[in-house]
């Protein structure tokens, strides 16, 4: 798209402008994910690795295309897009109510859309847009808070109804991250955190029925439920713990291959991986994700406009939440909420969401570099 080629180069400018380090990192993680899925299927590209690979390439291509879109466009569609996704969420809820039971899909005939996935992105865009439009001196007022809370609250509540606790958590966390970055007074966050810390135990103890309290307790400590989620957790810990430093070796995992580890190709793919690759594989994965997220936050720090700053840091943090919640969940540090590990877990929607995030981040990054090179 840019006219002048910068300097003499064999490589055409558009290619040269791609953030190769980042792409390499993503290719590494994604490729490793395919290896893990290959093993999870017992040394077979079907049923998972092959289709995941195809999708990965397609979505990566899409991300590169997105990276050519100017920041102004993202800024322009932030709010309309948010409203559209919100409407889609309401539609899903209505269809579910009519059809009986809950629903997460919007079946358009040629594609099944999961609006809640898009909301993870648009909540960040919309909050960023909101604070972008707000005059700087307003941010410390009450008027800077309630609209954002509303922006976050509506979709989060709708997704909770589905009920999809994991996604609702991610939407809330993404929105609050942007609020935090926008400069909402720290004491609010600290106060809110304290308030929650006080309120939740009281609510659990006095407002809930016994069975509801039990569910909360199991949610907080799954190992109390050895037959349900507790089974997932303990099997996953066994897989990770038995891997040791270097793992049992590629294709030698017993937990995954003998079906002891439930969801070994989706939410618990990290456990499948660490059983065979050991602590080394786990630490390398953490480092790779850390580098990717750090790159995203850096993109935000380098960005010029407030919208771009908030968006970039917010989207990077969205990826961070994916990784942190999933890993914590697999290792028994976080409740089991059904959030996959980007690039590694089998499944299209999370892959798509994360690569859209990457695409927008690359777009902002590109703009930053163009501006810097001026």
């Amino acid at each position: 798209m840019s006219s002048g080629s910068t300097g003499p180069g064999f490589v055409p400018a558009p290619l040269a402008q791609l953030p190769w380090k980042t792409l390499l990192l993503i290719l590494l993680i994604g490729g490793f994910g395919l290896v893990v899925l290959y093993s999870a299927a017992g040394g077979n590209v079907r049923p998972w690795a092959f289709s995941q690979g195809i999708r990965f390439v397609a979505f990566l291509g899409m991300a590169i295309v997105l990276s050519r879109i100017r920041e102004e466009f993202w800024s322009m569609i932030a709010l309309p897009g948010y409203v559209a996704v919100l409407v889609a969420l309401i539609l899903v809820e209505l269809i579910g109510a009519v059809g009986g039971g809950s629903q997460r899909w919007l079946d358009l005939g040629f594609i099944r859309l999961q609006p809640s996935e898009f909301m993870k992105i648009f909540i960040v865009l919309a909050c960023a847009k909101f604070y972008d439009m707000m005059p700087p001196n307003e941010t410390r007022r009450f008027g800077a808070i309630w609209p954002a809370v509303l922006l976050i609250g509506m979709p989060a509540a709708l997704v909770m109804l589905q009920p999809d606790l994991g996604t609702a958590l991610m939407i809330t966390a993404g929105g609050i991250t942007v609020m935090f970055l926008a400069g909402i007074p720290l004491r609010l966050f600290i106060g809110g955190a304290l308030g929650l810390a006080l309120f939740v135990p009281i609510a659990v103890n006095y407002l809930l029925h016994d069975y509801q309290r039990n569910r909360v307790l199991i949610f907080l400590n799954p190992e109390n439920d050895p037959l349900g989620t507790g089974y997932h957790i303990s099997q996953s810990k066994i897989a990770i713990g038995s891997g040791g430093l270097f793992g049992k070796g590629f294709l030698n995992g017993t937990q995954s291959h003998l079906d002891y580890l439930p969801e070994g190709h989706t939410d618990f793919a990290l456990a499948t991986m660490m059983e065979e690759w050991g602590l080394v594989g786990g630490i390398l994965t953490v480092i790779a994700f850390f580098l990717l997220i750090r790159w995203g936050v850096q993109v935000g720090v380098r960005a010029q406009s407030k919208f771009a700053r908030l968006t970039a840091a917010g989207l990077a943090t969205t990826i961070f939440f994916y990784v942190a919640i999933n890993m914590g969940m697999v290792m028994g540090l976080a409740p089991v909420v059904g959030i996959p590990l980007p690039f590694i877990s089998f499944g299209g929607s999370a892959q798509m969401t994360v690569l859209i995030c990457i695409g927008i981040l690359m777009a902002i990054d590109r703009q930053n570099r163009i501006k810097e090179s001026w």
Partner: protein, 646 residues
């Protein structure tokens, strides 16, 4: 909410980068926490989780040990094992009942009523008790299930051993049967073997009492299994240690013959070796088939067995108690001899005995009888007289000396003592004084006195040997046989009277042995089941259940007794007609099998085949009757009279 300091674009950018740094620090901290957790799990707790993953992967399956054989005195198996392909369901692991059961039904071609039984069993099933789906499968059907195991959670096909009783019903009451452990037994022992599919323990008879010796030690197989229990590969196997072989004193051939010879009658045969007290046969018929019992039986089979008035579920040889009738007379005779009564003294028999205003009948008018004739002709009058003269205490003591009213140290559950009455006993039990009439009744084996076929056989063996033989069933049991304090020549007199019963002018002459040079001595008995009204005996004219029992005790050869036998035929009407021929054929078998089987084959043709054929026919009839019940029969033959004279 109005903050203190003014906020503008530049300061906002600064605040952003400060907060972005905070965010980065927070993310880094979380990253470190995750890395730390990974390290903790995979380094610090590595050992523990390795063990757990190993115990997941490797499943220790127990293989029920092969049960020890039970063999007869010559080593012929009475109970052994055969290879068995079976399929069970572990209710705990059965997740998808609606899908799995119909699939199993098709794979195994389960019959409708077996399928019903399976569903009923699963209703009341507790978690750990395996529920039998099918046993004795052929290889094809067994393989069909094994192959599809991944889609059949909770289904466990095993290749094991099943208990096998070659003689079937003939040994049912002797060895009992085996079956799966109950939930209570498992809770008591917590032995994982108890819930291993295919494991069975003794439920009755020798199988139950000798359980510790017969069980053995289970084998173990380490296999790699998936979470759904599908077997991936076998790792190592420890063979089982089979249970001990138990050798009995039983003669398996005689046992089978005796059971078959009882035919359709309800009765018992006991044969004892007079040299050492070895029990050679202990048969009680009709019986259940221990082979099918060990597999668990259907409601219909159970109903058929428990409603049968011939009591196939009762071991009559040990638990059937009958007034011994005239077979008791030798005991009264011994009491008389021990009290110094001259055996040549004669008593005149006018056809009965007058006691006060009551007249006690004899079986005939025997005229003058001495001991020898009294036994041969079974003259009540003689024994009434002797019983009165020596008194009941002396008669009871003689009876106890001959082994009546006692339990023996046999590895069999639930023997019954029976009753040898005496004045003190009656006072204890009924709080009534002993009367002369009681003495008269007891002297001829009627009234309060009750004995079991085993006791009668012991009595016969003690009369035959002159020793207080204690019956033995295990080949390695000690031989106990102290001399009785009856002079041998006097015991010989009683034997010669019994010789005449069969071979002279006695009651059982039709039952003499058709063997060269071997004679059987014995004593017939007919025991009243109820008080006889108007002089009628409990014969053909009354319903089966009111007819008299037929009894016989005997020994052979007369000169040097080697075998003692007792036969009781419930409601057989008379000892000479029903019981003595059975004893004759059993003794004949011991000397000449071909001859014995020739007469048995002729009889079985008349009865409608051997035991199994008849049992199968009976079951078919019963099923039919259950399906289309006949209108209830009105009892036409109404019998007057009181209670049984027991």
């Amino acid at each position: 909410m109005n903050g203190g300091r003014p906020v503008n674009g530049a300061s906002q950018a600064f605040s952003f980068s400060r907060r972005a740094t905070l965010l980065g620090i927070g993310q880094g901290a979380v990253g470190l926490a995750l890395a730390g957790r990974m390290t903790w799990l995979s380094i610090a707790e590595n050992e523990r989780y390795k063990l757990l993953s190993e115990s997941n992967r490797v499943n220790l399956t127990l293989m029920p040990p092969r049960r020890g054989w039970i063999v007869d005195r010559a080593g012929i198996p009475i109970a052994n094992n055969r290879t068995d392909f079976r399929v069970d369901i572990i209710p705990d692991r059965l997740t998808d009942k609606e899908r799995v059961l119909p699939l199993l039904r098709n794979l195994l071609a389960i019959e409708p009523d077996d399928y019903e039984r399976l569903q009923r069993d699963l209703e009341g099933a507790s978690g750990f008790q395996p529920i039998k789906v099918a046993e004795n499968l052929d290889w094809e059907r067994f393989a069909a299930v094994s192959v599809r195991l991944p889609e059949l959670p909770g289904v466990a096909p095993t290749r094991g051993f099943a208990r096998n009783y070659p003689s079937g019903a003939a040994v049912a009451h002797l060895v009992g049967y085996v079956g799966a452990a109950t939930a209570e037994q498992y809770k008591e022992t917590k032995d994982p073997l108890f819930v291993t599919p295919g494991f069975k323990l003794g439920k009755d008879g020798l199988e139950k009492t000798l359980e510790p010796d017969l069980r053995g030690r289970p084998g173990a197989k380490r296999v790699e299994v998936t979470a759904r229990g599908r077997l991936v590969r076998e790792l190592e196997t420890r063979p089982d240690r089979p249970g001990q072989m138990i050798k009995l004193t039983i003669d398996a051939g005689l046992q089978a013959f005796a059971a078959r010879r009882l035919g359709n009658e309800s009765g018992a045969v006991v044969v004892i070796d007079c040299r050492d007290g070895s029990i050679l046969a202990l048969a009680s018929m009709p019986a259940y088939n221990p082979n099918s019992f060990s597999d668990g039986i259907s409601q219909i089979e159970w109903g058929m067995l428990s409603e049968d008035d011939h009591l196939p579920l009762t071991n009559k040889a040990l638990q059937g108690l009958y007034p011994p009738g005239s077979t008791f007379k030798p005991a009264t005779a011994i009491a008389a001899l021990r009290s110094g009564i001259d055996p040549e003294r004669t008593v005149n028999c006018p056809g009965g005995y007058q006691l006060g205003n009551r007249f006690f009948r004899c079986l005939g008018r025997h005229g003058p009888v001495n001991l020898h004739r009294a036994i041969a002709r079974s003259c009540n009058t003689y024994f009434y007289t002797m019983g009165r003269e020596v008194g009941m205490d002396a008669v009871a003591e003689a009876a106890r000396q001959l082994g009546l009213g006692a339990e023996y140290p046999l590895p069999l559950p639930s023997q019954r003592y029976g009753t040898v009455p005496d004045p003190a006993w009656k006072q204890r039990k009924y709080d009534e004084a002993w009367t002369q009439a009681d003495t008269l009744n007891a002297s001829i084996g009627q009234g309060y006195i009750l004995t079991s076929p085993l006791q009668l056989a012991v009595q016969a063996s003690r009369i035959a040997s002159g020793r207080g033989l204690v019956p033995r069933l295990l080949a390695d049991a000690p031989v106990i046989g102290p001399a009785l304090d009856v002079p041998p020549e006097r015991m010989g007199m009683i034997r010669s009277g019994m010789d005449e019963v069969v071979n002279g002018a006695g009651t059982a002459v039709r039952s003499r042995l058709q063997l060269d040079g071997i004679r059987m001595g014995g004593k017939t008995g007919t025991a009243q089941v109820r008080r006889i009204v108007g002089g009628a005996r409990g014969g053909l004219g009354v319903p089966w259940k009111y007819r008299d029992h037929g009894l016989f005790i005997g020994f052979a050869p007369v000169e040097q007794p080697r075998y003692a036998v007792s036969v009781v035929i419930e409601h057989g009407m008379s000892g000479s007609g029903a019981a003595a021929p059975v004893a004759r054929d059993c003794i004949t078998y011991l000397y000449d099998r071909e001859k014995a089987y020739a007469s048995l084959d002729a009889l079985e043709k008349g009865w409608g085949g051997d035991i199994e054929t008849r049992m199968a026919a009976k079951e078919r009839e019963y099923r039919l009757a259950r399906l289309n019940p006949a209108p209830p029969e009105t009892e036409t033959a109404s019998i007057e009279g009181g209670s049984a004279s027991r």
